[in-house]
Subunit: 436 residues, 2 copies
């Protein structure tokens, strides 16, 4: 290895590749947007790198991937908590969302990008209104993102009628086609807010462009009852019936599933986004993730939006994901730390169709790399890397972040976002909301 643009050295490299390779005293070389090589530091002793990042004996690992969020909801963080879902939605969230526009969504999404980079996330999948503004925010922040305009049966504050919603989505796909960071997806809200025609058309559009189809599904028992009343089927069986299940589908939440639903998800290779903190905070329930994994379903982890969490820190989400299934099954072996870390890295990438691009540190993949500073009291001593990352570390321990070969944070300083301005912008939006 003679030349590199960036050499990250002096750390334990946790690759999350299929062999679960860990390299002690290792280094990662980056050339342009790609990982060029990984190995023990001696391999790089002759390497002339334009930039050297010292991991200070910490951990070098793939950036985390948040498979389900609504980034711009940072604008409403803490606006309404500890309420039942319908009061929360109808009295607080929907009225606030009716006043959104491109500029507000971009500001909220940029704030979310700052928070995500600061807590080790390098890629996120988003569903919201004015989603082109989210894509613009992610591009400005240098983050990898899957974006999709939310589609439903009623008029949207963004695009108006559903016809225009599909036009907006198709434009989004065409505009961002070939972008190194941004993928556009087709994102119908849910089977209870989208008629079968809308869902079938969304699936056809996803198929046409080979992009993900992302939906909320089986989030609550009430939703299941609604669907059973309306169609005589569970939400998953309903989606199968109208031909929407496919390997391109990312089904978010999947809390209230039957065994047959799990079999269907596995049979169609549907991907699942697991959002435990949101499901806890909204009192939705606990998704049967161990059963899904046992059935062979690929499960990625996600935070959901910052109104139902209320942070979007994937390290906190990993900790919760590892614990909630233990207590739910009264079995401490049911969800180990390594499985959870996969859900936040390589399996998250797979769930978004991005596993050839990101999700692990392997030569040829895009360089989405974070460095963890382990020289801290709460990360001392260290017996087990995976346990440490899931149970002890927090987003704040991420020191440096590289996305697509670009350093976006170094020593906790954000390099792509004017964070003081972004915070001021969102505080201004919040003042308008408070003043009605």
């Amino acid at each position: 290895m003679n030349d590199a643009d960036i050499l990250i050295t002096n750390g334990t490299v946790v690759t999350m590749d299929s062999a679960e390779t860990v390299v002690e005293n290792g280094a990662v070389a980056i050339s342009a947007d790609r990982i060029a090589d990984i190995g023990p530091w001696e391999k790089f002793s002759d390497c002339r790198a334009k930039k050297v990042i010292d991991a200070k004996n910490g951990i070098i690992m793939p950036g985390l991937i948040n498979t389900h969020t609504h980034a711009a909801m940072t604008c409403f963080r803490g606006l309404a908590d500890d309420l039942d879902l319908m009061t929360w939605l109808n009295d607080y969230i929907f009225p606030a969302e009716a006043k959104l526009d491109d500029n507000k969504v971009k500001a909220g999404a940029l704030l979310a990008c700052a928070e995500m980079i600061l807590s080790g996330t390098t890629c996120f999948a988003d569903m919201y209104l004015f989603e082109d503004a989210v894509a613009e925010a992610a591009r400005a922040a240098g983050m990898r993102a899957v974006v999709g305009e939310v589609l439903y049966d009623f008029p949207s504050p963004c695009y108006g009628s559903i016809e225009q919603g599909f036009a907006y989505t198709e434009n989004l796909i065409q505009k961002w086609h070939g972008d190194p960071l941004i993928t556009a997806a087709v994102e119908p809200h849910s089977p209870y807010l989208c008629a079968p025609d809308l869902l079938a058309r969304a699936e056809a559009l996803s198929k046409k462009y080979h992009v993900p189809l992302i939906i909320h599904v089986a989030e609550t028992r009430a939703e299941v009852e609604t669907l059973e009343d309306r169609y005589g089927k569970t939400p998953i069986a309903h989606l199968e019936n109208i031909g929407v299940l496919s390997p391109r589908l990312l089904a978010c939440h999947c809390v209230a599933l039957t065994e047959k639903d799990i079999d269907l998800l596995a049979a169609f290779d549907v991907k699942v986004s697991h959002n435990p903190e949101s499901n806890m905070k909204l009192a939705s329930g606990i998704a049967p993730v161990p059963q899904l994994i046992n059935a062979g379903v690929c499960v990625g982890l996600g935070t959901d939006g910052s109104t139902s969490n209320n942070n979007i820190d994937m390290f906190a989400e990993m900790d919760t994901a590892a614990k909630i299934h233990k207590v739910n099954t009264l079995d401490p072996t049911v969800m180990d730390a390594k499985t959870v870390l996969k859900m936040a890295t390589i399996n998250a990438a797979r769930s978004l169709g991005l596993d050839q691009v990101t999700g692990s540190l392997e030569p040829g993949k895009r360089a989405d790399v974070i460095v963890i500073d382990t020289h801290k009291p709460h990360l001392t001593p260290m017996y087990n890397l995976y346990s440490h990352l899931v149970y002890a570390a927090g987003g704040n321990d991420v020191d440096t972040s590289v996305i697509n070969g670009r350093v976006v944070m170094e020593n906790r300083r954000l390099l792509t976002i004017d964070v003081a301005k972004v915070m001021a912008d969102v505080n201004q939006i919040a003042e308008e909301i408070k003043n009605g």
Copy 2:
């Protein structure tokens, strides 16, 4: 207000007093070890303070109180995870503990103190071996602590026989009597590892010295079955039967309770320490905390040790406590953020018999005060103080900490602990453990 030793100004003061007073643009004046006054900043415009701490428009609040931990278990953080309880205890924890001594326990406890101060905890209740070393560590760190040597039916690596265990405990109580920071308690391990005679004698000692009696109880269903087999009673009913229930008793965990148990705890004004993350990670179950609170039981929050958590960050614990009961009951209104913050402050103090001393910001109380830096992306914007502190903030957002009128951390720099040395000491202990 003319003079003060410390004036903490330019923040929103969240007092946690009985009126739930919040003072915007407020300040807290400290004289010697006490809170002298609290009010809007104008009240202090003439105040000459020896030291002024600028809260930078953040939050000024009582330090958090961890009602149950085993501080020195930092030495074993991540040594063994995702295992069933008996494998974990017998194959990993007990063999490691057999090699402990005063010096190792002091080093581990000092590391825990560093971690706790860095995450906003100003007082902790500890149960472990070589507990005088924990008291020495807390005194060195400037932390408030309730300490107690663990007592059980078999010989201890610290004191040997139970006779010597009681002597050790009585010495501990006498040595630390009148100390401004340290209270010694009587701490029998649990009703399954302590015979009725031991428990009755522990209660008598606690009564003699008016100090807390602290015990693990009803932590798992297996424990309940053991006690029912042995005594024909639930653990709580067994403790009542032998005369151990009293307002001095702090019952830790209380996961597996009957309605009658809850009534007994309420009738005897027993205090409960709730440890949700440990109960989740060890797959013990979910304590019926909403029912306990409804029955009038005072519940404090605790992290348990760092082998079963694996950090001892009370902000993370608050977040989990607020969420786990919502999903357990499928009711998002069952445990609101303010109730949880009380569990980590004033009700935690009450559970340790320290509510006249600490747990809220009120003139005359000891000055245990922390300052939260809210000028961060994940704490922007702010609609609701309590929700922010419980759902969005983390221990890392604590900027400055004052305990008993002494600044122990300022701008995240620890002033009482040589943190590099403490981390090196515990890393050395871990190397010995790894090498068997």
